[in-house]
Symmetry: C2
Subunit: 306 residues, 2 copies
């Protein structure tokens, strides 16, 4: 099965207490693409300049990414983000953002992408997300992400994206900002009313929860003693989540719960190294082993009160 | 089985966005005592003044609390705390603390308490916690709680309490303050090295986790759309946790995991009403029903990758 992933393809300069990388491969579409590649064929839609290293193209192709939706702008420069993490690394401090060719990104889906059943709209301008939605035929599952910037600046378009999506993915701050609620369950319920069938609230080291009309499921974060670089954790979660779902038949409650675990486990791998190095060389066996441990963490044996 | 609970017995004036109570029954020993009463006989050790209402004594006795360890000081006034919760209610703002008779509290265990197998040392001066530990014979399980005030002010005594305890109960902030670590898993591992066999880190709306040499278990918080008053949630968790364990044979990993669920569920009940009104009229059936829902929340069906 193929999964269409629309988002940024970037070069990131990142500093954390455990090191630094310069112009490393990054961007939401890259993180999600690599995570989904273990379950599906990632059809990437993005834009780079011709400064984008051939090695990165090679790496993405090695991960079976379809790059026919990746625009390469001659004479253009690739989106470059520079950030630093300190303390508990729960937040990145942006040092600089050079949008470069990403500023004029207009996502065009190659014909053979358009009837894909699975679509991940990573965090881009909601107007562009709508533009993508106009290009797809009748996707079985649309997962969309966003950020504070669009919540404040393009709320109406964003709500329209939510209305047309099946699953929306927000972090705690975004859920609160979107709804004005301080209680996350209340916030998620209100988001459900906007149209999607499922809402996922990501809580970083505290895991994530999924709410739908018929289910509530909470997963922990896989316990990591040492985070090297949390960049891309959310997009990696999304890629693992939608990739896994695309590999199953039907969108049952049980598959959604499994997908929450798969997304969380992939996200834990990406935090263990810089850039995509934590996820680009995984094996099914490695993922399965950690998944088994992950599922064990929150298992509670049957309780009968005396 | 009996559980000895040493802590404060108080009258609380609490304001939250959903209401206000004045001089309501509170205190760590009360919250823990009532929660444990569904599984064990709570042997309360505390102090009050003779202003402590007879109704509160009656209520505690109705919950089968043994009050022979409750000192009533003639002419004295009961510990009174006044606080307010705002926003997401994750933190209380203290308006006033009148220790009154609690300032001179010296916990004395009646003879028949001393060979109890289960002891909860709620948050009091670690020197008093040590004084209690000197009075008990050979408890099977000592659970201890503390707070920032003692971590900063009486660190050495506190470390000695930890060394003599089997389970220590801290919140996120306390775990970080105690160890200087920002990573909670690292912090919990360092706390284990101080002597206890189990460390529980409470994370409020994000649940709690348990770490021992042989297990790591994470539980969510029971999802509440509306918190009325979170006062006493931690002590209620502790009371449910130790009460449940005392009702089982042996301290197996499985029983500890069950106890984490029981503690969480009791804590969810207490947040649904002011004071102890959320927990004082429960039934086994009600607890069991919520426990079943609680265990369902984090259940992940078996995953086999293709």
């Amino acid at each position: 099965m193929s999964v269409v992933i629309v988002g940024s393809v970037a070069m990131d300069t990142v500093k954390t207490p455990l090191g630094r990388v310069e112009k490393a491969l990054g961007g939401s579409a890259v993180y999600a693409g690599i995570a989904s590649s273990y379950f599906a064929r990632p059809c990437v839609v993005g834009v780079v300049g011709d400064d984008f290293p051939q090695d990165y193209i090679t790496l993405l192709k090695k991960k079976k990414c379809d790059l026919s939706g990746l625009q390469i702008i001659k004479g253009g420069r690739t989106f470059h983000w520079e950030g630093v993490y300190e303390g508990d690394m729960s937040h990145a401090h942006t040092l600089s953002t050079c949008l470069n060719v990403f500023e004029f990104f207009k996502p065009e889906l190659p014909c053979h992408y358009r009837d894909s059943g699975y679509l991940f709209l990573a965090n881009i301008d909601p107007e562009l997300q709508l533009y993508v939605l106009d290009q797809v035929k009748n996707p079985e599952l649309v997962l969309c992400d966003t950020m504070n910037f669009w919540i404040s600046g393009k709320r109406e378009s964003l709500i329209e994206v939510f209305r047309k999506s099946h699953v929306i993915l927000v972090n705690e701050g975004e859920a609160k900002l979107l709804t004005g609620k301080t209680n996350l369950i209340q916030a998620a319920e209100e988001l459900l009313e906007l149209g999607p069938s499922w809402v996922i609230v990501k809580k970083g080291e505290h895991g994530a929860f999924l709410l739908s009309g018929e289910d509530y499921c909470s997963v922990p974060a896989y316990p990591l003693k040492s985070l090297k670089d949390p960049t891309g954790a959310g997009d990696t979660f999304a890629g693992g989540f939608i990739g896994f779902l695309s590999s199953r038949k039907g969108l049952s409650k049980e598959h959604f719960r499994r997908a929450m675990a798969v997304g969380s486990v992939l996200a834990s791998f990406v935090c263990e190294d810089f850039s995509i190095y934590g996820t680009c060389s995984l094996t099914k066996k490695k993922i399965e082993t950690r998944l088994a441990k992950f599922c064990e963490i929150s298992k509670i044996p049957k309780i009968i009160l005396k």
